[in-house]
């Protein structure tokens, strides 16, 4: 088994594919709804209010410090639902595999995805497998979609945001993008960076359960913290002021960024949520965050302001203020 490779027959709908599905996917994902040979999974949702999301993962390399494409695709989709105030319930898992991928590699990816889903308490209920000829894709691409139900967060929107609200983040930024970049092996330096890739639904659910002070949140993926904040500012009648010195950045990540001319605020994360919260609740929410290992380094990084409507301002470490824009141009391809 260990030297076997994926061939086109594994995607051709015949016995090889049935065996792959039965022995690998169903075994690993093993949820009662998963009938891989049915056309769709049948669900009984807790609520008619749902959230629905999808993402394709093409990260290169497929294994990187802190994770792999299997872990990433689960965490990413769980987070996309969670930040909308929904409780992730079930996921789909569809992969496009390049002929020749060692079966052992696929197994490892599928196991990671399964573990991650179990850890996050979500079920993988439906899926698909396509195999394309060598050279027609790059190892493996995975697309996950997810359904969440919305017991919390009815009021989550930019509407209630007002001057004085605090802006929180649950820890260090830039780890994912830089760890993937370093894993490509073409930086001439050693980089100590591990992807922060993790499902945040537990953290977010705790916060929403313990405090009604959360007004809005997003995970800071492609485009980094800067993109999320820019989007937020454009969507409110207020401004945003960030204190750069308070934004947690690991020294190793900062060093790579300085060398390559990147701004850590532009680098992708896969386990970071930005929250706008009522000022009076900020301390309490930070306390809840810090109880969770995924929020151990949570801090307040700024606040919503009356002035400078629609823009994000950044107080630099030397005390000056400049505007923070979303990244423009191509930064790093295939980090997610």
């Amino acid at each position: 088994m260990s030297t076997e490779r994926i061939t086109l027959a594994h995607g051709a709908g015949g016995e090889s594919m049935r065996r792959l599905i039965r022995e690998l996917f169903r075994e690993a994902f093993g949820s009662p709804e998963l009938q891989p040979l049915a056309d769709a999974a049948l669900l009984e949702l807790d609520s008619r209010q749902a959230a629905f999301t999808t993402d394709s993962y093409t990260v290169k390399p497929i294994f990187f410090p802190g994770g792999n494409i299997g872990k990433l695709c689960i965490a990413g989709t769980v987070n996309d639902l969670s930040v909308m105030g929904a409780r992730p319930v079930c996921l789909s898992f569809s992969c496009i595999i390049e002929e020749g991928l060692p079966l052992a590699v696929l197994e490892q990816i599928v196991q990671s995805a399964a573990e991650e889903a179990r850890g996050a308490g979500v079920s993988i209920v439906t899926g698909d497998t396509k195999v394309v000829a060598r050279g027609e894709c790059d190892e493996i691409f995975i697309t996950t979609s997810g359904i969440g139900v919305r017991p919390f967060g009815k009021g989550l929107s930019t509407d209630g945001i007002k001057a004085g609200d605090a802006i929180l983040i649950n820890g260090f930024i830039g780890d994912h993008g830089i760890s993937v970049l370093a894993a490509r092996g073409n930086l001439s330096m050693q980089v100590k960076a591990e992807s922060d890739c993790a499902p945040l639904n537990g953290l977010i659910e705790s916060i929403l359960t313990e405090s009604a002070g959360v007004k809005w949140m997003r995970d800071a993926t492609r485009g980094g913290l800067a993109a999320v904040l820019s989007e937020l500012a454009e969507d409110t009648p207020c401004g945003i002021m960030i204190d750069e010195s308070s934004v947690p950045v690991r020294e190793s990540v900062q060093a790579v960024c300085e060398l390559l001319g990147f701004d850590p605020l532009h680098i992708a994360n896969e386990g970071k949520v930005v929250m706008v919260v009522e000022n009076a609740e900020a301390e309490k929410i930070l306390t809840v965050m810090k109880r969770d290992p995924l929020g151990a380094h949570a801090v307040c990084i700024g606040e919503v302001t009356e002035d400078s409507t629609g823009i994000v301002r950044l107080k630099t470490p030397v005390g000056t203020v400049r505007r923070l824009h979303r990244p423009a141009g191509e930064l790093l391809p295939r980090i997610c």
């Binding site: 010195s245 470490p317 030397v318």
Partner: protein, 365 residues
């Protein structure tokens, strides 16, 4: 608390800015920095805002991508069109518009263009792809040139015959001579490029202080480095001194890095070089030495049509410090980092990109 905090510290920066203000008084001071790293840092930390309006930064021709001419891009694209040829490039360069396409667009249209972080990586790639001719686009100043020299030396030692260099490498001192001797240039003081000086030392710039009578400081790249350098320049001006002082002592010696100089000399020789905005400057570039011409891609570059600059683009004026980026009519309208029209909007060290990305907290939306 990380290592960068010591050079990015409001508690130190504020008194330093105060001291500059009191030294310079009402005196207008036009300071040119000629390294893109300085340009980026000045905007990123909004240093202008700490200083009196009388002190102004002018941005010189210090961004390696920006000073690379359109003709070089056109030649690279022509080379990339050849069969079994891969053009190896630093990342930013592939987004610089040529006369009709950028290298990124040429790649999207089917040419083989690979991005590397160093010449040595490109060399390794060539070793692993023996059936392809790999042409490395050598741009940059002495800082980069010495690493390219090392890769070339390695290619020669290992006789990697499918690795070649297309050079647009440039040297700073000659270019500064040309720029600062030009009567249109109006500069009171100079922040010298720290990284370049760490390689060639500060001595090659002495002529600026002594012949051209312009005070110089070799500066580091952190905000406190730059503020400190501005203070040192203000002192020189007030005291009517013209010297080359070194602020960036943790990296720069007057004589530079001799080993790095040697390998450059061994592999390269001075050639005339075309600079975007400055035109051709005698002996301001580095070419592959004749004895290594088997590794020189200059002969590969077929004829290309005469290069055309993007209509309306004023990168040349920006690079000479004659206009600020905002004064170009394309800026932030037709020309953005996402769809750059001119080279200065491409690199994070380009003045236009820096202004686009960092400027405008109070003044724009």
């Amino acid at each position: 608390m990380n290592v960068f905090d010591q050079w990015r510290n409001a508690a130190v920066a504020k008194p330093l800015a105060e001291s500059i203000r009191s030294i310079a008084g009402e005196r207008p001071i036009r300071i040119m920095e000629v390294c893109g790293g300085h340009t980026a840092a000045i905007y990123r930390f909004a240093l202008q805002r700490m200083l009196p309006g009388t002190i102004q930064f002018l941005h010189g021709p210090g961004c390696p991508v920006c000073v690379t001419g359109t003709d070089f891009i056109d030649r690279a694209i022509a080379i990339a069109r050849a069969e079994k040829t891969t053009v190896a490039s630093f990342g930013d360069l592939i987004r610089v518009p040529g006369s009709t396409l950028s290298l990124a667009e040429a790649r999207a249209a089917g040419s083989s263009v690979e991005v590397f972080y160093s010449a040595m990586d490109a060399l390794e790639w060539a070793v692993h792809h023996p059936d392809r001719t790999v042409v490395f686009l050598a741009i940059g100043f002495e800082t980069t040139a010495c690493t390219i020299a090392a890769a070339l030396s390695e290619a020669v030692r290992r006789q990697v015959k499918n690795f070649r260099i297309l050079s647009a490498m440039k040297t700073m001192p000659g270019a500064l001579h040309a720029l600062l001797s030009d009567s249109r240039t109006n500069v009171d003081a100079l922040i010298l490029p720290g990284h370049v000086c760490s390689v060639i030392g500060s001595q090659p710039f002495e002529f600026i202080a002594h012949e051209l009578r312009i005070p110089c400081v070799v500066s580091g790249f952190e905000p406190l480095d730059i503020l400190e350098s501005v203070r040192m320049l203000s002192c020189q001006l007030v005291e009517h001194r013209c010297e080359v002082e070194i602020q960036y002592r943790r990296a720069v010696k007057p004589s530079g890095n001799v080993a790095a100089q040697q390998i450059m000399e061994q592999m390269f020789e001075p050639v005339d070089m075309t600079w975007r905005g400055l035109g051709s400057i005698p002996a301001s570039g580095l070419g592959v030495r004749r004895e290594y011409s088997a590794w020189d891609a200059a002969s590969l570059a077929g004829k290309t049509a005469p290069s055309k600059e993007p209509p309306g683009c004023r990168c040349g004026d920006v690079l000479r410090g004659s206009i600020r980026p905002e004064e170009c009519s394309l800026f932030r309208k037709a020309c953005t980092p996402d769809r750059p029209r001119g080279a200065c909007m491409v690199s994070s060290e380009g003045a236009c990109a820096a202004v686009y990305q960092f400027a405008g907290a109070e003044d724009e939306h």
